[in-house]
Amino acid sequence: MSIKVNLKVLAGGTSEQTIEVEENTTYECLLDDLEINQETVIVLKDGQAVPLDGTVTSSDLTILKIVSGG
């Protein structure tokens, strides 16, 4: 069974989409699929940070790209 996720990517601008992922997909795998290096982002589930080895559940996900200040 697949899971529906509302995905918001904040990287300079904002992009929003609804995606479907397989059950038991980890956040890490999701980032790999999206070709996003996990060192460069924080993943927020319903606004709370999540460990990337956790599994994706039906929710609102935000991928926040972090860049160097300075």
Partner: protein
């Protein structure tokens, strides 16, 4: 499935691959603060009557730095904190972080000094970059910013100058210096010692991965801006950053290994590699290793 904190069984907010630990908000904050305190104790000998200048751009790293130093030293009547912000003159970018910087110092009640390239060098960075030039934007900005930071820190009588460099910044610089074979820069990056005319540098966040600085800012409710400097794409550092991030994912702990290896090696190469005596720049009088300082050279003041 929710992951549990290895220390208290509450819901984790982060998995640190390099340590194998899942941490909840409380224990993540503790972990970051413990590393910062350890770094300060081990590397940056804060003494009675120190005046610590903090380079505050308003980005996440310097915001976390100021917040932490304030948390650690606000109760110490013998230590003073002064934030210094340099307005390089980057339209559409710096105004925003400048506002964040002002709000943070006002909230914490920290003295704040703002200096600009325009007032100091008669020209904003945007104008320098628009001219015909030999080097990348970051070379101009970096040299001029460091010169003005040091000068301002000296003027306010600072005994330390703290910057928000994180683990990623340090690991990138180490690797970059290796790739360029630049031993003299490696020596400069080594743990700093006191030199006439240069305020002693301190980097309390050098053991905190960039991601964790960002997460710490978020969970501490600090206003952070994740916009990127419009000139950032010009720097070769970006390539090194990508390379290191790929390596870190495949081999967790790579960034720490680079830093720890360098810290072990640095005192040895520094001993063998002759330390340059600092002279005063013939044109502006700022400390430098040659007759004319880098800032004056870049500004074409020769």
């Amino acid at each position: 499935m929710n992951m549990k904190c290895n220390k208290c069984n509450k819901e984790a907010i982060i998995f640190q691959k390099y340590s194998g630990m899942h941490l909840c908000k409380k224990h993540f904050i503790e972990d970051v603060e413990r590393k910062i305190k350890f770094t300060i104790r081990k590397h940056f000998n804060i003494q009675k009557n120190d005046i610590i200048a903090i380079a505050l751009s308003g980005g996440k790293d310097s915001a976390v730095l100021l917040y932490m130093l304030h948390k650690l030293f606000d109760k110490r009547p013998d230590i003073e904190l002064i934030a210094i912000t340099i307005d390089e003159g980057i339209e559409g970018y710096r105004e925003h972080t400048l506002k964040i910087a002002k709000e943070l110092t006002a909230k914490l009640g920290v003295k704040h000094i703002i200096r600009s390239f325009k007032d100091e060098f008669d020209t904003p960075l945007d104008d320098i970059i628009a001219q015909e030039r030999e080097k990348g934007a970051c070379s101009y900005c970096g040299v001029l910013r460091k010169t003005l930071l040091n000068k301002t820190a000296l003027e306010v009588g600072a005994t330390k100058l703290a910057t928000g460099h994180n683990l990623d910044d340090e690991a990138q610089t180490i690797l970059l210096n290796h790739l360029r074979g630049d031993v003299s820069r490696m020596v400069k990056l080594a743990q700093p010692h006191a030199l006439e005319g240069l305020v002693l540098r301190a980097k309390p966040l050098r053991y905190i991965p960039e991601k964790e600085v960002a997460l710490y800012a978020i969970v501490s409710d600090l206003t952070v801006d994740f916009s990127e400097c419009p000139y950032a794409h010009e720097a070769i550092r970006g390539e090194v950053r990508n390379m290191l991030n790929v390596f870190e994912v495949a081999h967790p702990g790579t960034k720490y290994s680079l830093l720890k290896g360098f810290d072990t090696m640095a005192p040895i190469i520094s001993k063998e590699y002759l330390n340059v005596e600092l002279a005063k720049c013939r044109i502006c009088g700022e400390p430098c290793s040659f007759e004319i300082c880098q800032a004056c050279k870049l500004l074409g003041r020769e």
